[in-house]
Amino acid sequence: MEGAPEAVSDATVRVRQLRKDFFDEARGEVHAVDGLDFECHRGEVFGLLGANGAGKTTTLRILSTVIRPTAGSASVMGHDVLEEPEAVRRSLGFYSASTALYPRLTGRETLQFFARVNRYPEPQVAARVDELVHRFGIGEYQDTRVEKLSSGMKQKVSMARTVAHDPPVLIFDEPTVGLDVMNALEMVRVVRELRDEGKTILFSSHIMSEVEKLCDRIGIIHRGRLLALGTLEDLRQETGKHYLEDVFVHYVTDAEGEGAVLGPMGAIRKDG
């Protein structure tokens, strides 16, 4: 687990004892995030691996200041999510299934909007948009409204808009959900490229193969708690398992205690 003192840390993302509770009419009091600690650094892809409902999206929503933590702290590029939410959002690019594109804007207008509203230097916005159009190969349909684009085209515009203001930290929350193989591979390629440019990337997924291929460090999250954190090699050594899927099952069943069996998508059931 992370434990470096803040003074000497070069972390771009820092999460300390993060907790998020909420009330659900059906389930009552829910601890969606329960004492999470981790840090991310420049030029790395940090994978948050967990089943549906493990607390990944809640953590990322706290980091993007959409919601606030019940306790603990989180910061991005040194900006606290509670104290400087605008500065945090300016340092972030957020990509997820719940952050769709504005359907009535064209691709170009979309990029201009996100660059400007996220305070990319105004005189350089046009040049930045041209660069993104070229980089993501959206020139042919840059003046077509998003609502008329195919899902693959939308994905490219969406990735471009996430990095429009050139933020140092990027969050990709389940980015390949609903994408076909080719588009998913394209996504992975872009994430690697961005990492190589020195961006910090927080990559959340429940797809093991993606995390295995892409992430420099992995945090396994279950019921809002971080069960393990390290490189894939670290986790393999600690568990004695080779495949990430087996590593994941090992940690989760261990956390649930003896007799726990991992069901579909990581859901735990107690046998016996």
């Binding site: 993007s64 606030r68 999510v81 959002r89 952050t99 594109l101 504005y102 009535r104 996100f114 509203v117």
Partner: protein
């Protein structure tokens, strides 16, 4: 358990607000229903509506004028008044109808009473004229006769027949009285002890202006509400439905800028709808209604110049109010359709001015000036009629702006709740209020 409050600092960044506002407007103006309701409807509605209305009225009038009234007689008239039947039937627009001949010495259209009533009920006869001798008691002239015209009030054609018969009878009656007066050796002037007449002192212009005031004050309210209706749902529930709500929340602008931009864009579209309505109505009045009115009467209208800024101020105040109220309610919806349903209470407010607007002798009072929507409607009507009660106009605008401020404070408070912000709260504004009050 206390619901969780989201990050919210009521700070406004003008640059971000402007960028977000431009984005909201651009998106809204690319939505067909927004353009149709807010821009095209005002431009084309009035000319088409008014032209259609007058054309239809003229057409119906023409149809009625061309229709001959089918009249039957019961109880044959005394021989001395036989000419009355001839007078009625001499009209080009009246004809006798036979639905079962009665013995009447060759009077056309003379039928038994039962057959006449049945004919009136089943629509074969438009009016039945019945003659009844008045017993000579010394108080009436000799040969005096009572005439009853039976008709069906639910049928326009039957009511028209009644009018035509009454015209003919009145004409005959006048001639007969003159004749009797002369035979009694009296001066003709002596038969009319006094004359009753009425005179409308209202000029054609003031009548026209009154009508314009009633119509315009109501239409501006309706059209501003309509102008805000779709954009307010589109920018709240529509964003949730399209999954762009969270996209907007993750931009680096302050939340207050996001909300201000949304609110101002909806209000702008409401103002545009209101101003376009005023312009379209004037143009329609001049180009369509005035020529049509000139053909049929002496009604005209004029407008005090000062009423134009008052109307524009009224349209702006209404837009600010409707935008705030509609967005507040619609923001609880997860789908566009739900949003439309949740807005209905505000839309019903539109009809409040109708109740007050019908009282033509009423002007803005301190009480009316305290009722949102109705106050602005009355203020507009007064201004068209040349009545400018400045202290009450100021009260009207202040009350409206104060109401808007309260609505925005409520919106700001609600936005702090994460279940609302993320759309996980399932229910309307009213349910939310109940739930929070009880928690």
């Amino acid at each position: 358990m206390t619901p969780h409050l989201s990050t919210w600092a009521p700070t406004l960044d003008l640059r971000s607000t402007k960028i977000l506002y431009q984005r909201e407007l651009r998106s809204a103006l690319r939505e067909r229903s927004v353009v149709v309701n807010g821009i095209l409807m005002p431009i084309f509605l009035y000319p088409l509506l008014l032209w259609g209305m007058f054309s239809a009225l003229n057409f119906v009038q023409g149809l009625n004028d061309g229709v001959r009234s089918r009249v039957a007689f019961t109880g044959p008239p005394p021989e001395v008044h036989r000419a009355l039947v001839d007078t009625i039937l001499a009209r080009q627009d009246v004809e006798a109808v036979d639905v079962g001949r009665a013995d009447g010495g060759g009077i056309p259209g003379l039928v038994p009473m039962e057959a006449a009533i049945v004919g009136l009920q089943d629509g074969r006869i438009d009016a039945v004229v019945t003659f009844e001798m008045i017993p000579d008691g010394g108080s009436t002239l000799p040969d005096n006769v009572g005439i009853t015209v039976r008709f069906d009030r639910t049928e326009t054609r039957s009511a028209g027949a009644r009018d035509r018969v009454e015209d003919a009878v009145a004409s005959y009656r006048s001639g007969w009285i003159d004749q009797e007066v002369e035979s009694l050796g009296m001066e003709r002037a002596a038969r009319t002890p006094f004359v009753i007449d009425s005179e409308n002192v209202a000029s054609g212009e003031s009548v026209g202006t009154l009508l314009l005031g009633q119509m315009l004050s109501l239409f501006i309210v309706i059209m501003v509400a309509l102008g805000c209706f779709i954009p307010s749902v589109d920018t709240t529930a529509g964003e949730r439905e399209r999954s762009t709500w969270e996209t907007t929340l993750t931009v680096s602008a302050p939340r207050s800028s996001v909300i201000a931009a949304k609110y101002l864009s909806v209000a702008t579209l409401g103002v545009v709808a209101g101003v376009l309505n005023v312009l379209a109505l004037f143009l329609s009045m001049g180009a369509v209604v005035r020529p049509l009115m000139a053909e049929s009467g002496d009604i005209s209208f004029s407008l005090p110049l000062l009423s134009i800024p008052v109307m524009i101020a009224g349209a702006c105040a209404l837009a600010l109010f409707f935008a705030a109220a509609m967005m507040l309610l619609a923001s609880f919806a997860r789908t566009f359709k739900d949003g439309q349903a949740m807005i209905q209470p505000v839309y019903w407010l539109v009809f409040l001015p109708v109740l007050l607007g019908n009282q033509t002798d009423r002007t803005l009072t301190p009480t009316i000036a305290s009722i949102p929507v109705a106050n602005v409607s009355m203020m507009i009507r007064d201004s068209i009629n040349g009545v400018f009660l400045w202290p009450l106009i100021a009260q009207t605008l202040l009350v409206t702006l104060a109401t808007v401020a309260v609505l925005l404070l409520v919106a700001q408070y609600i936005l702090r709740f994460e279940d609302f912000l993320l759309g996980s709260f399932d229910g309307s504004f009213w349910r939310f209020v109940r739930a929070r009050l009880s928690s």
